[in-house]
Subunit: 129 residues, 2 copies
């Protein structure tokens, strides 16, 4: 069993179909690496589980190192203000577990490159973003 | 001058730093392809310009074919319900201009692959999502 966990943290929405890319992303990650990490999704609002519930589940499953990845495009108020408070609460609830938090995925150059390629595909340009 | 336009459509947020990845994405696209497309950003709420203002600017600049790309992870209510109404209004305001709307970027496999690689980087795995 992996002792490493990833929690994909998203905003949440009323429409359950909104979460489909999160589940597809989680599936990809579950099949990646050796040992594969334990992968959970968690949401700020409108959807469950919450971040603290997802982290508690990973701790209960034996994870000793948990990385939270904000699946947001930008580092706005949710990522800069709400998330650090939630992460602090998780750390306080689980002393001894290493809980880290990554930068929002939309800040990553390769993610932006992939989005740019997708945009160019839409207008029929070659994929050379 | 390019007659092709791309409008990157995002949710918007109170924190202006949230929009930084959108601007970086727009910059990438402005340098891509020949002729390079005209690239604008537009927001559903909390930020400007609105979609109709961005589309009107592109039409005024001479674009005859405009592709709106929802920079959202999932196809929730904003993309499934709000956006089609906004796009219809743009089409009604600019007859003769071809206005198309892409699927949300988070539904694209290569975008998800890039996000998965980013997540694995965060836990120190090789990038083999």
């Amino acid at each position: 069993m992996s002792t490493q966990g990833i929690v994909l943290f998203g905003h949440g929405a009323r429409d359950p179909r909104w979460a489909e890319p999160f589940e597809r992303l989680a599936e990809r990650l579950r099949g990646a690496g050796a040992p594969a990490p334990l992968v959970s999704v968690a949401f700020l609002e409108l959807m469950t589980p919450s971040l603290d519930a997802a982290v508690a589940s990973q701790v209960a499953a034996g994870c000793t190192r948990i990385t939270i990845v904000p699946v947001f495009f930008g580092q706005g108020g949710h990522v800069r203000r709400d998330l650090p408070q939630l992460v602090d609460a998780c750390r306080a609830a689980h002393p001894g577990i290493e809980i880290r938090c990554a930068t929002a995925v939309g800040e990553d150059d390769r993610v932006l490159d992939a989005i740019a390629r997708y945009c160019l595909d839409q207008i029929g340009h070659d994929a050379q973003a």
